[in-house]
């Protein structure tokens, strides 16, 4: 267990998240203690408006915390310079890229920006890493296509490849399965599982696909109004953590099938 503990990638201590204005603080959740290890696929689930995005924004230093600590690779988040943070943490956001006129290769290669020189020239290593990222996400055949020619599912794979080429130990994705059909939702999450296995990276994503997340993730973070529980999906089902996820007037969690169903 000791060796396992040495590979903590993301660690929070008594973290409080929310918004601070001049007048008052709005606390969304407090006492968050998370530990993500190397090579784990972790899903973050919770109802709309419960604070998933706020948590992710705080973990990625987009937003300040209201208290407590966040460390990546045992180093406090605030002590990272922006360029060093870009070398340990990459993101896949819900927003689409500004210029769809980039080719897939160009876009994925932009993930190498923290490593390239002042004018952004790609070295041979950069090109190799970019190609590997394309191969790992099975989009080598799209390499020369422009982004405006891609479907939503293909574009999401490109964005994941871009995060991979950034060569970080931790990748955080904000709702990577929105706008996708059922097949591609499963495909993207399965791809993330494969990447974790093959590259030993840690991947954290927020999602509303609870049934898929239960099947594929090593760990789940379940956010409810009262608590934030982190455990393996199996244990979470045993503890009944999913029962209190949503108001119980419309859907209930069925422990046998590991999914929600509508009350008839």
């Amino acid at each position: 267990m000791n060796k396992y503990n040495q590979h903590i990638i993301l660690d929070t201590k008594n973290l409080t998240i929310g918004y601070a204005s001049k007048k008052a603080e709005t606390i969304i959740a407090s006492n968050i203690n998370l530990k993500l290890h190397q090579g784990e696929l972790v899903g973050l689930v919770g109802a709309n408006g419960i604070g998933k995005s706020t948590l992710l924004r705080t973990l990625t230093n987009v937003q300040d915390s209201l208290g407590g600590e966040v460390s990546i690779k045992s180093k406090l988040l605030q002590t990272y310079s922006s360029i060093d943070l870009a070398k340990v943490l990459s993101l896949v956001l819900t927003e689409s890229v500004t210029s769809k006129n980039l080719s897939v290769f160009e876009l994925v290669a932009l993930g190498r920006q923290p490593y390239t020189n002042w004018v952004g020239n790609l070295s041979e290593t950069d090109i190799n890493i970019t190609n590997t990222a394309l191969a790992q996400t099975n989009i080598e055949n799209l390499k020369h296509k422009k982004c405006y020619e891609l479907s939503d599912g293909q574009l999401q794979k490109v964005m994941i490849a871009r995060a991979l080429s950034q060569d970080t130990s931790l990748i955080i994705l904000d709702e990577p399965t929105t706008h996708l059909d059922m097949y591609h939702k499963a495909y993207i999450l399965k791809l993330l599982q494969k990447l974790v296995k093959n590259t030993n990276k840690t991947i954290l994503f927020s999602s509303h696909e609870i049934d898929l997340a239960i099947q594929l993730c090593d760990k789940l973070i379940v956010m409810t109004k009262d608590s934030i529980i982190t455990d393996t999906p199996k244990n979470l089902i045993k503890q009944g953590a999913f029962n209190s996820l949503f108001p119980e007037d419309l859907i209930v969690f069925d422990e046998k099938i590991g999914s929600f169903r509508v009350i008839k």
């Binding site: 922006s82 943070l85 927003e95 890229v97 500004t98 920006q113 790609l122």
Partner: protein, 343 residues
């Protein structure tokens, strides 16, 4: 980002065309001067210039160089603004540079007559207009920047720039209302733009500031490419957004600011050249786009200037009108033909 080779042929072509149009530009005018005459004038003694040599050396050559600087500078600053604001409608003047310059010039031309007397003759010289335009655009830009530093969102800067444009336009209207017909005419003539008014010593100052602007542009290439992903992604890639934004704005102000000060408010080039270039080169990579915009801007400006001269006549049309008359149909034609705006 690796494939620059296929574009090499385009660049060679553009450079050849640029040289060709430079030669055409200097040989056309109210009198035509042959290429050999132009060439020989470089070796002639300035004290014994023939009239043609004199026209070439002291009028047409500085005018052609001005055209190249103006066209390339406006194209480049337009591209910078379009990428920074993620908006295909942005141009070099969205930050209030023209409006500031026109306010400065309006104050000098129309305000000085209100002061009356001897001041009028002192104030209205070529340099005073240049200084007034520079001061005006600098002050408006500074105000826009100070207000902008209070906001996070880049889009807000665009709106703030437009608002300041409206304020200065209103002040100019009030000034115009109270001024005489001659002053008004002089102000309107400034608004036509002019490439041919620059002497060599003015051109030197112009070129020096212009070169500084280009340096800031080159330093921003990597940031510009990163910004293609959007600001949040750019930030996650370790880009210092505030510093990059400042560099891009400084570059634009230096380029567009001096151009407006020396040649007047030249419309259209800054907005259209980046679009034409994207249609031709079909890329968003600024390492390709910037030099292409530079060359294409210079070429288009030379063509517009040659047309404005109305070869073999004594008339010169306002350059500001020609750029739009020639350029706008080209952009419409490109968009209709390709059926798609590339951004």
């Amino acid at each position: 980002m690796i494939k620059t080779q296929p574009y090499r042929i385009y660049f060679v072509l553009l450079i050849v065309v640029l040289i060709l149009f430079s030669i055409i530009n200097v040989s056309l005018g109210s009198v035509s001067i042959s290429f050999s005459e132009c060439f020989n004038s470089f070796f002639a003694n300035p004290e014994h210039y023939t009239s043609n040599e004199y026209i070439f050396q002291d009028y047409r050559l500085p005018k052609a160089i001005t055209a190249i600087l103006v066209g390339s500078g406006l194209g480049v600053s337009g591209l910078l603004m379009q990428t920074l604001f993620r908006n295909p409608l942005a141009g070099p003047f969205v930050l209030g540079i023209t409006s500031g310059a026109s306010l400065g010039v309006a104050l000098v031309i129309m305000g000085s007559s209100l002061l009356g007397g001897i001041l009028t003759t002192i104030l209205i010289s070529k340099w005073s207009l240049v200084i007034a335009a520079s001061l005006g655009s600098f002050l408006v830009l500074l105000t826009v920047l100070i207000v902008s530093s209070k906001v996070r969102d880049t889009m807000t800067i665009l709106i703030i720039g437009l608002m300041f444009g409206s304020i200065t336009a209103a002040v100019v209207s009030v000034l115009s209302y109270f001024s005489s017909a001659e002053d008004l005419q002089q102000y309107i003539f400034w608004g036509f733009g002019s490439l041919g008014d620059l002497q060599w010593d003015e051109l030197k100052v112009f070129a020096a500031i212009y070169a500084l602007g280009l340096l800031f542009t080159i330093a921003s290439i990597k940031a510009l490419n990163t910004l293609l992903l959007g600001e949040n992604y750019a930030k996650s890639l370790g880009l210092n957004i505030k510093q990059s934004r400042l560099f891009i704005i400084i570059a634009t102000s230096l380029l567009a600011g001096t151009i407006t000060a020396f040649a007047g408010p030249i419309a259209f080039i800054g907005l259209a050249i980046p679009h034409i270039t994207r249609q031709v080169f079909n890329t968003s990579n600024h390492k390709i786009l910037l030099p292409a915009v530079f060359l294409l801007g210079a070429i288009v400006m030379l063509i517009c200037d040659s047309i404005a001269q109305l070869p073999n006549t004594d008339y010169t049309l306002p350059i500001n009108a020609i750029t739009s008359l020639i350029g706008a149909p080209v952009v419409v034609w490109l968009l209709v033909r390709k059926k798609k705006m590339i951004f």
